[in-house]
């Protein structure tokens, strides 16, 4: 595998910090009743998001799911617009009409978070079909959770992509639970990636979804394979969401011990230690990066709070293209 530049390593760390700090902040605001709607957090899953997305290129596409904050931030969305959207403001990413579950950045290849489990899969294969028909050399990264693999659309879309050799990576970010339901209780195999065999495509498991380099390196290899026109790949990684499913989760289905155990496997601390050990950055430099990231999030909050509410008339706009 190719050497990763120092610049890239540090940038990936920054993106993970942005996800962590952004979602921690939104969570604090949720608890204070300052967020008007439903949110799902990516804290704990930073490496799984950043490692994969850092391996695709400008012009490639992603589809995301309800837990899309991490993917949008990894796609380098404007944090001010995203925070304003979560606050329902007029200058939010979606003019306050989409909220947390529909953050999108179409100009930058992010085809959007999606409130329907598995809802992005069709879009992903369709976007991949466009790339193939127009011979663009671009690929699509289709992100979803472990639970989405039990939707019928998963089977239909992976099958269609496999027979047409579409340039799409199906990426299951396995955080062990579909709301309260353990994935182990709803599939009769150990891992969803094993299903790749049913479609005659490669399937991979990245065991440590909290190890940024493991994710990135595997993805770099897979992105190359898919970009070369070999058809789709199904890849799964194991990680954990530190917070509840959504802002309204009492969390009774998992023990404090389990959550604490996973917090010890913090993807950011792990990568930070790597950066220090390998002499890429000092602890002080990385702490400063974290402080700057927090400042950026605070600025986003200020931007969101000082942003105007959408006009009532705007609710009636954007239904149809003229």
């Amino acid at each position: 595998m190719a050497e990763i530049s120092k610049e890239k390593l540090l940038h990936m760390h920054k993106l993970m910090l942005d996800i962590r700090n952004f979602d921690n902040k939104v969570n604090q605001m949720v608890k204070k009743g300052k967020v008007p709607g439903m949110t799902h957090f990516s804290v704990g899953e930073e490496a799984a998001n950043v490692g994969a997305i850092a391996a695709i290129s400008q012009g490639d596409f992603i589809t995301s799911n309800h837990r899309g904050h991490g993917q949008s931030i990894a796609m380098e969305i404007d944090l001010n617009g995203m925070m304003a959207e979560i606050m329902g403001k007029a200058n939010g990413t979606c003019k306050g009409k989409g909220g947390s579950m529909h953050i999108a950045d179409l100009d930058n290849g992010n085809l959007g978070a999606n409130g329907i489990v598995g809802g992005g899969m069709g879009m992903a294969i369709g976007a991949a079909l466009t790339q193939k028909m127009k011979n663009t050399g671009k690929i699509v990264l289709c992100c979803f959770g472990d639970g989405a693999c039990n939707e019928g659309t998963f089977h239909e879309c992976v099958n269609l992509a496999s027979i047409w050799k579409l340039p799409v990576i199906f990426y299951s970010i396995n955080n062990k639970y579909g709301i309260s339901t353990p994935i182990s209780s709803v599939i009769n195999i150990e891992y969803n990636y094993l299903r790749a065999a049913s479609y005659g495509i490669p399937g991979y498991l990245i065991e440590d979804g909290n190890d940024l380099l493991q994710i990135y390196n595997k993805f770099e290899e897979i992105v190359k394979y898919v970009r070369e026109g070999n058809g789709p790949v199904l890849i799964e990684t194991l990680t954990y969401r530190w917070f509840g499913h959504s802002s309204s989760d009492p969390g009774k289905y998992r023990t404090k011990e389990e959550v604490d155990e996973w917090k010890k496997k913090d993807p950011i601390l792990k990568f930070k230690a790597h950066l220090i050990e390998s002499g890429i950055a000092t602890e002080a430099e990385l702490d400063e990066m974290d402080a700057k990231s927090k400042e950026g999030v605070e600025e986003a909050v200020k931007f969101a709070q000082s942003s105007p509410e959408p006009s009532l008339e705007s609710a009636f706009e954007d239904i149809f293209v003229d």
Binding site: C94, A127, T130, G152, T153, L160, V321
Partner: protein, 333 residues
């Protein structure tokens, strides 16, 4: 634009509309089950594989969810897919993609992006295909903001509106009627012939009673209108909606104001059907003051479509029943 026309079936009008648009725009392609060598379940793509090749006349697995999803994703990224849904009943497997994704994407994303995709559906009964292959499900889609719904009733309207649907930048549900693929009519041959979406057409002018209809029932309504003119001297105005969403309300209300009597006809199930909406629109408008008789609905019966030919036939409005309802309306004071 030339005024030349040619006698064509609905089927040929569809093939001609799609082929013309595919010649004009390389982003347009046809996707669905058996659209290629088979030429479509209803023969609506015969010859297209030969002209456009298998990339653009794209056969799929029996996977309606993936077909619709792929079409939407392709549309969001610059293509203009036409989906051959085949039997409209199969659209239930596409519902999430159409209702939760295609219809809402632009709105949820704050006015960014577009989903130019057409879902061509073979609707209606009349060919002995029973309850799971005979439904006209347009009202489901009319209920969802963000979708356009078109249901033409002549070969010329089918061609002009299908071309308009392909050129439209929004998701469109396009109804064809499997009992009418062989129906013939004069169709303009000019490739620039395109009809406006959202514009009703007065298919027959009259002064005594208005009949509002669309799609398959147009043919029967026109026949009934001509027969009551001859037998009873009743002058019927026939308003062909052609497009359900967006709806040409003005055309309906204007005609109702003119005649003061209105019969609404469609072949879909009566309860919660689209003509109920038309009735409500008339009732809520100033046209209500012009009514000399209650608004009448004549629709499909609220039963799953039976297989037996006589039973199947009796489940949707016949020319005789349309005539009877027109005469009842005229005689009401």
């Amino acid at each position: 634009m030339s005024n030349e026309t040619k006698l064509m079936t609905v089927r040929d009008a569809i093939i001609s509309a799609m082929s013309e648009e595919m010649r004009l725009d390389e982003n347009v392609f046809l996707i669905g089950e058996d659209v290629g060598i088979f030429g479509g379940d209803f023969g609506t793509s015969v010859g297209m594989l030969e002209e456009f090749g298998k990339e653009r006349v794209r056969d799929t697995p029996i996977s309606e969810n993936a077909i619709s999803g792929a079409a939407i994703g392709a549309a969001m990224t610059g293509m203009r897919p036409i989906v051959d849904v085949t039997f409209m009943d199969f659209i239930v497997y596409m519902m999430d993609n159409i209702v939760n994704q295609a219809a809402k994407t632009r709105y949820m994303f704050g006015g960014k992006g577009q989903v130019p995709v057409v879902f061509r559906c073979a609707a209606g009964s009349g060919v002995g295909s029973a309850a799971q292959h005979s439904q006209s499900l347009e009202s489901w889609f009319c209920h969802i903001p963000g979708l356009k719904v078109i249901a033409p009733g002549t070969p010329a309207d089918v061609k002009g509106l299908l071309k308009a649907a392909v050129r439209d930048n929004n998701p469109v549900i396009f109804l064809e009627y499997k009992a009418q693929y062989n129906m013939k009519g004069e169709v303009p041959t000019d490739p620039n012939f395109v009809l406006p979406i959202g514009k009703a057409d007065i298919k027959k002018e009259g002064k005594d009673v208005t009949v509002v209809t669309y799609g398959r029932m147009l043919e029967r309504v026109l026949q009934a209108a001509n027969e009551v003119a001859e037998s009873d001297g009743v002058s019927v105005e026939v308003v062909d909606l052609r497009t359900l969403i967006p709806l040409d309300k003005e055309a309906v209300l204007e005609s109702v104001k003119k005649t003061g009597r209105v019969l609404l006809v469609n072949d879909a199930y009566k309860t919660n059907g689209f003509i109920g909406e038309i009735s409500a629109i008339i009732s809520e408008s100033d046209a209500f003051d012009y009514l000399d008789a209650p608004i009448l609905r004549l629709a499909g019966e609220d039963v799953p479509i039976p297989y037996n030919h006589a039973l199947e036939t009796a489940m949707i409005p016949s020319v005789e029943r349309i005539k009877k309802n027109i005469l009842n309306l005229v005689n009401k004071r």
